[in-house]
Symmetry: C3
Subunit: 139 residues, 3 copies
């Protein structure tokens, strides 16, 4: 068994999702591991990683609509407001989703289902530069 | 260290939970790894994996009741509606729960707590055939 | 590659968060693995593990406020009520957050972002003794 690890950065356009599937797949191929696991990690507390339906972009717009309604910006509930009305909601959205994803590696590729894509979900309204780390372990 | 990986399928009866603990445990024993990690992955975007209290089935009925209220079917919020009133809610439910679970392997067994069971949660109202992949890594 | 695994216990003061970052970091150093993954697992269904902003404690108070509103104690929706008004809400909170966290290990340390801390979130109102297991795999 061996381990391969590499980081990369994603420039987000503010609140929205970015498909990082191809970059993760590229790193798994580079790691040269045939069977094992791939872990993707986001080093931030106001952005998430999600697996999402990859055929209809409306699914991600609907997810955003649901989350905006469940975790509204500017909610008077919060005391942590110095960084703006979208800051604490970003932390809540992150807590309700994932900061890291582990995915099977099979036949040297990421073993996703047909309709699964890997997305970085930026929860802040302003653009940010986000660091992701991919770790692949296996044979 | 070595890696063991195998997939299996679960036939769901539509929206409900299915206990897959025994099947995961069987694969960990088959893999012959004493100490390490076991990863269970669901290759779909409208079903989830959860760890849940395994003593009282009412807990899972209450979880379903909570989720049905939080993410109602037929919500006019959504634009992705071609596959039915339960389709987009299934994607949201998946996003709020887990697609993969990593579990410690100790003494050749899945190191769950006394009251923890592994459940596949089907979020669509119609029965589906779901693929799960178990990956075990360790010594 | 090698694997290191060790459990420890945390005494909680009832519903609140406990920073376990230092203990996890200590175990990663003890494991002596330079590059790989660290997995932290909570063996319970009414407590969670979260990564959270570690600079302003108000963030965790706001998270608690959000969760208390979303998943109120004593909700008449539930049938699983024998263990008190906070029992089923604790299971729901656990389901909406994480039972296990996988984190990159880089340079012999847990590769967290600057503002990420690892917290055990006790969801029951009474103090509990919680078991966590740390598994580190890598080179």
């Amino acid at each position: 068994m061996s381990v391969f690890q590499q980081s990369f950065h994603v420039a987000t356009r503010g609140r929205s999702t970015v498909d990082v599937s191809a970059e993760v797949e590229r790193m798994v191929r580079q790691g040269g591991i045939h069977t094992g696991l791939c872990h993707v990690f986001c080093h931030h507390t106001s952005a998430s990683l999600i697996l999402c339906e990859n055929a209809d972009p409306q699914v991600r717009r609907d997810l955003e609509a649901f989350m905006s309604r469940l975790v509204p910006d500017g909610d008077p509930l919060y005391g942590h407001i110095d960084e703006g009305p979208d800051d604490m909601p970003a932390h809540v959205r992150m807590t309700l989703t994932q900061t890291g994803l582990s995915l099977p590696v099979s036949g040297g590729r990421v073993g996703l289902g047909t309709w699964q894509g890997i997305y970085l979900w930026e929860h802040r309204t302003m653009p940010h530069r986000r660091q992701l780390t991919v770790t692949v372990q296996g044979e």
